[in-house]
């Protein structure tokens, strides 16, 4: 913990043990991922005899075929549309509600807030059948909104809690001063609160995005048309079609998790902060 930690002697057996332990865990995590990436470069025959090592002959064709097919891009596009809709709507709806809870005192405010936080207590799956019927009766079945709107509803609880806490911590004098100067609540929200809250908006946006991008159950229940499938559904269909042609499936998996990994490497801090702060502060 301290930079000048005296326990960092070079030949301490405890250090060696620790390094060995970390190495074992790292291998446990890495091997399935690397085998998937490399497996996509092998032929099926080679995969059977050499699933671990580097390919003897690099089959770029597996990846190229997928990248050149319309299918892969269509899946990513659908996922992107659904996730973007979900994130945008969540940020708008949740920040408006959080602002009200943070700055406007009204009768029943704390009751309504606990009502919203009920959403943290149970998984979406519990009521997915009635939800399906509701979405069907609203005529939203088999549409992007049929997936996005329930996702927004389920992400509201956590988002409102995180945003409200942040809004509350902004200096209250700002609001007072603005109100004295004749600025309305709505304008204050648009021109002061939101610009000051970029970090928390990024955090909430990231959590929502990752959850929506990876979601499987809701799209599975709400969508029937292949052309609308997001990638988790698409990849299950692909796996069904190529059931044991593992080299193709592995290439497809690699390409579909690639955006997530790139996003993770680019926005590590937001993602880690977002996913753990949701937990710690929620």
């Amino acid at each position: 913990m301290n930079r000048a930690d005296p326990t960092r002697a070079p030949f301490d057996p405890a250090v060696l043990l620790k390094a060995a332990f970390l190495a074992v865990v790292a291998i446990f995590v890495l091997v399935p991922l690397l085998a998937t990436l490399l497996g996509g470069f092998k032929s099926l025959g080679e995969l059977r005899v050499n699933p671990f090592g580097l390919p003897q002959h690099w089959e770029w064709q597996n990846y190229a075929d997928i990248l050149l097919s319309g299918r892969y891009w269509q899946l990513l596009r659908n996922s992107l549309i659904i996730s973007t809709l979900t994130v945008t709507l969540t940020l708008i709806v949740a920040s408006m509600a959080a602002f009200t809870f943070a700055h406007v005192r009204f009768f029943g405010s704390s009751m309504l807030l606990s009502y919203l936080t009920l959403g943290l207590l149970f998984p979406a799956a519990t009521a997915v059948l009635p939800l399906f019927i509701k979405v069907r009766d609203l005529g939203l079945l088999d549409s992007y909104f049929g997936v996005a709107l329930p996702q927004v509803a389920f992400s509201l609880a956590m988002s409102v809690l995180l945003l409200r806490r942040f809004f509350k911590d902004l200096p209250y004098e700002l609001l007072e001063a603005a109100l004295v100067d004749g600025c309305s609540y709505v304008k204050f929200f648009r021109h002061v609160t939101l610009p000051l809250s970029r970090p928390i908006l990024a955090t909430v946006g990231t959590i929502t995005f990752v959850n929506s991008w990876n979601a499987y159950l809701l799209p599975l229940v709400m969508l029937n048309t292949d052309a609308l499938y997001p990638w988790p559904l698409g990849i299950m269909v692909y796996q069904g079609e190529y059931s044991s042609e593992w080299h193709l499936i592995l290439a497809f998996i690699t390409l579909t998790i690639l955006p997530t990994i790139i996003l993770f490497l680019l926005a590590q801090k937001h993602i880690v902060a977002g996913l753990t702060s949701g937990a710690v502060k929620g």
Partner: protein, 313 residues
């Protein structure tokens, strides 16, 4: 959106009287505008897609209904009786129990140990943290598919290790004895990094002077760990347990690509049981009954746990 824009231009018109009132504290007009405009979208969406479906699940669960037309065939509590008489339901419940046990006995100690190691500064510590966290952000579906390759009896990694010892490779996911074990290993692989990060965040917020004080008082590293650091982590440990249990009750996506709950229901979780028996066959009443049972378990657990263990948070 259009409504929001329209009314914010209405506020421009209403500005002079607002400004006049402002000196007497927050104006009523401004507050009402916010209440009327800002709260309803969230409440509406939440009520429509989260709260109402739960209530409707309770209602539908009293019918034998395939989802078409209106429910008319009232059968009272029979659906609950059918669920409780199904062997697969109890298997699913047992499996959820197993997941919780593994989360508490394997995953949590592993995460805590790694957090203690990686919260110290040394070269590569941050890279290792990121590596261990990475499985958590991968989609469950992708993770499940990756491991269905790892476990594959013909092409998989496990099969290859078996063959190198000259043994006939097992089909782990196809046997009722090993399928659930295989799923449990994937669960640890995917989620330990999240719990590790929780612990690292908590460790970093510990006041270093407490550990320093213990050291000055002559405590060894192990002693200060046992009597200072771990007790300071109790709130985070309780939180981590909470997430492990709630997470296990929600587990579905991971199971589908691995086993779909099979073979012979041996690796179903509550949600995959609900999917296989209620949703995929559109048995709305029966599926809703499972949903209500799951809901009751989750809510009872959450309230009890919060009351007993997280009173101060």
């Amino acid at each position: 959106m259009a409504r929001q824009i329209a009314s914010s231009s209405a506020i421009h018109v209403a500005r002079p009287p607002l400004a006049a009132q402002a000196s007497r504290g927050p104006s009523w007009d401004g507050r009402y505008t916010v209440l009327i405009l800002f709260l309803p979208p969230a409440l509406l969406l939440f009520t429509l897609f989260v709260v109402l479906p739960i209530g409707e699940a309770a209602w539908y669960s009293a019918f034998n209904w395939n989802g078409f037309g209106r429910p008319t065939n009232w059968i009272g509590l029979d659906n609950y009786r059918f669920v409780l008489e199904t062997r697969a339901f109890w298997l699913a419940l047992r499996n959820n129990g197993l997941i919780i046990a593994v989360s508490l006995c394997v995953q949590l100690p592993l995460a805590l140990t790694l957090a203690l190691m990686l919260s110290e500064r040394f070269r590569g510590a941050v890279a290792l943290r990121m590596l261990f966290f990475m499985p958590y952000i991968l989609a469950e579906i992708a993770t499940g598919l990756i491991f269905s390759f790892v476990y594959d009896g013909d092409y998989g990694l496990v099969a290859s290790i078996w063959r190198s010892f000259g043994a006939e490779p097992p089909h782990l996911l196809a046997s009722t004895d090993t399928a659930m074990l295989a799923v449990l290993i994937v669960i640890v692989w995917k989620y330990f990094g999240f719990h590790m990060m929780l612990f690292i965040a908590a460790l970093q917020s510990i006041d270093k002077s407490l550990i320093e004080a213990a050291r000055i008082d002559g405590a060894t590293r192990t002693q200060s760990l046992r009597h200072v650091v771990i007790p300071l982590l109790y709130p985070t440990i309780r939180l981590s347990v909470f997430f492990a249990i709630i997470g296990s009750l929600q587990l579905f996506d991971l199971v589908m690509p691995l086993t779909r709950g099979g073979p012979a229901d041996s690796s179903n979780t509550m949600v995959s049981f609900l999917y296989n028996n209620g949703i995929s066959r559109m048995r709305v009443g029966y599926g809703s009954a499972i949903g209500v049972i799951l809901f009751v378990i989750c809510v009872t657990f959450a309230f009890t746990y919060k009351r007993w263990f997280m009173r101060d948070e």
